[in-house]
């Protein structure tokens, strides 16, 4: 079985957030519940200022710290494909995984709504989920954290499990430009206008993602944590860049 991975070419990324909104709509996320996010950082002083941005999905780590800390095994690593998923029927909402994720990709949406008025009250659920938008997708699999979550659980990017897991057997590179595969490509990859994202099998030595990682020296975010992300970044000095994370603003400017 494949070990799915993503490659994001920061030279091509335009910081447009299409990945963010496509993910939000495909997976019926709440406003601000950016499973996939684009993070902006600014450095320098007028007139020479550098603005950088950084697209950040869940890393679907090989050794995910969120999985090891979960006291109920609700968060787990699917051996078939390498997805890191949450079983909403087991999650107790202790948020330890949120605390233990170095990449900040997990969400507990019972908190106060980011955008008021609260859209959950506009489209209330009659099925004990957080909400029920009329445009929600048909996919629904709480045991994998797919669909709209019930109350009191943590949600996260699924690598679009509901699409990827149905890819034809033997598919190595899930490329949206291959017509018969486009429905099996994660939403953020499929929508990306500058084609900065690639999705494929990291276990397949000759996959295109492995070629890109090798040729363009792919790096993993915060590799020192040992989480071993399955998302790689390519960067050649364009505006998008792997951020140092360290807060960049001087204290007198903040």
């Amino acid at each position: 079985m494949a070990k799915w991975g993503m490659v994001i070419d920061l030279d091509k990324c335009t910081g447009c957030q299409a990945c963010t909104t496509a993910c939000t709509m495909e997976n019926n996320r709440l406003p601000g519940e950016n499973w996939q996010d684009v993070l902006f950082y600014t450095e320098g002083t007028y007139p020479n200022v550098s603005m950088k941005w950084f697209p950040r999905p869940c890393m679907h780590c090989e050794h995910p710290s969120c999985v090891s800390v979960c006291p109920t095994k609700a968060t787990y690593k699917d051996p078939n494909g390498g997805f890191v998923l949450v079983d909403w029927n087991k999650c107790i909402g202790c948020k330890y995984c949120q605390v233990a994720c170095p990449y900040g990709v997990r969400f507990y949406m019972d908190e106060r709504a980011v955008i008021q008025p609260d859209i959950r009250t506009v489209f209330p659920s009659n099925n004990d989920r957080l909400w029920d938008p009329p445009y929600k997708g048909p996919q629904d699999d709480p045991s994998r954290g797919i669909g709209i979550q019930p109350h009191g659980v943590v949600s996260k990017c699924t690598f679009c499990y509901h699409k990827v897991s149905k890819a034809p057997a033997g598919a190595v590179d899930l490329d949206e430009d291959i017509r018969e595969l486009k429905e099996h490509v994660p939403a953020c990859v499929r929508v990306c206008p500058p084609k900065a994202r690639f999705f494929g099998d990291l276990d397949h030595p000759d996959s295109y993602v492995n070629k890109l990682i090798a040729d363009k020296r792919g790096v993993r975010l915060k590799d020192e944590t040992g989480n071993k992300p399955q998302v790689y970044y390519l960067s050649g000095g364009a505006a998008a860049a792997v951020p140092a994370l360290r807060s960049m603003t001087d204290s007198d400017k903040s």
């Binding site: 950082y41 090891s68 800390v69 948020k95 900040g104 507990y108 908190e111 960049m248």
Partner: protein, 377 residues
């Protein structure tokens, strides 16, 4: 009824009324808004005051249990007057913390089933939760075995060793929950479990002092001779030592934090100048240390009760600053979050602290009434 008993009944009734009122208020906000009533957010502060309260009460509980166990093992007759109270207080404190935890969890009832059946051996929380279960049982049995006024310390030695091990394990596991997050340097440190154990012990001592005085309605004259002897004998020194050791751990972390440039440690730069931190160090720890060292004050009941109260508060601040401080640097939030998050507990969260205090007090007062803690002779 003695005067003391009357006051105990009063305490119990007051606490129960408090539990009723605060519980009602909490149910109102939580029932209406759910966890939107908390000020925790996805920007980074995932664990807010309720977790602080829970851990504070849990670690105090294990501290009390450790003291009870150590007293049985090494304390001979000198420590006898506080053993039973410490054991019961350990249960009472834990109950307050657990109530708050249950209100903080997304699925508290599910947790009761899902954790034991998960066999999540990799998770420190799994071990912590499972051990707490055994620990509660062990404490209950211990108290049952001490129901007779002439309980024999020697016969309880095995039991005490078990409780000591469980309490230390829980405390250490609580440390690992935070200390193992290598990417949060504010938390991550190999000595955190050890620091937690010493902090627990200090909390236990402070609680013993305070709640013993409370049991006698702060009337030192009413206290039995054995208690007086202990309080004016070995205990002030131990208390001072515990304060000192805890202070060392805090200051060591502070120095490391101030010198370190690692992402996350910059929280210390902000923290050391905050009034809360200064109050913790100077009023909450140094002042009690002095009170417990000076010959003129160390045996004064007011000084002991005051020192205990100050230390109890300092430990709560310490717990708060540690748990919140480790989350103040947002992880990959870009401009969506400030460089350093700010967090203030919501009214509901403060109410949960109050609820924990009241629940613990109610249970403790109930124990004082029915079990005649430390007044066997």
């Amino acid at each position: 009824m003695t005067k003391t008993t009357t006051k105990e009944i009063g305490t119990l009734i007051l606490a129960l009324i408090g539990v009723g009122i605060v519980g009602y208020l909490v149910m109102q906000t939580l029932g209406g808004q759910g966890h939107a009533a908390f000020n925790t957010t996805n920007l980074g502060v995932h664990w807010g005051l309720p977790i602080v309260v829970y851990d504070y009460f849990l670690l105090t509980s294990t501290g009390l249990a450790m003291i009870a166990a150590l007293a049985i093992l090494f304390g001979s007759e000198t420590f006898r007057p506080i053993v039973k109270r410490a054991a019961w207080l350990a249960l009472a404190g834990l109950a307050g913390g657990v109530v708050v935890l249950m209100l903080e969890l997304g699925h508290p009832l599910r947790a009761l089933v899902a954790i034991p059946t998960s066999f999540a051996f990799e998770s420190p929380l799994y071990w912590k939760a499972m051990t707490i279960g055994v620990y509660v049982l062990a404490l209950l049995i211990l108290i049952a075995r001490m129901l007779k006024a002439d309980w024999d310390a020697k016969a309880l030695r095995g039991h005490a060793i078990l409780i000591l091990v469980l309490a230390m394990f829980i405390t250490a596991a609580a440390g690992v929950v935070y200390g193992s997050n290598s990417f949060r340097p504010f938390w991550a440190s190999g000595d955190i479990p050890v620091a937690f154990i010493f902090e627990s012990l200090l909390g236990g001592l402070a609680f013993i002092y305070f709640f013993t005085y409370l049991a006698y309605a702060f009337d030192a004259e009413a206290m039995p001779e054995g208690v007086k002897r202990l309080f004016n004998g070995a205990l002030p020194g131990l208390f001072a030592l515990a304060i000192f050791v805890h202070l060392l751990f805090v200051l060591a972390r502070m120095v490391n934090g101030l010198y370190g440039n690692v992402e996350g440690l910059q929280v210390w730069q902000h923290m050391v100048t905050s009034p809360l931190f200064l109050a913790e160090i100077f009023i909450g720890l140094l002042l009690p240390l002095i009170l417990m060292l000076l010959a003129g004050t160390r045996t004064r009941p007011w000084a002991q009760a005051l020192a205990a109260l100050l230390v109890m508060n300092a430990l709560l601040i310490s717990r708060y600053e540690y748990i919140i401080g480790g989350q103040l640097v947002p992880m990959f939030k870009g401009t969506w979050a400030p460089d350093l998050l700010s967090y203030m507990p919501s009214t509901t969260e403060w109410l949960l602290l109050l609820l924990a205090i009241l629940v613990s007090n109610a249970i403790n007062a109930f124990g004082e009434l029915t079990l005649r803690l430390g007044r066997e002779r």
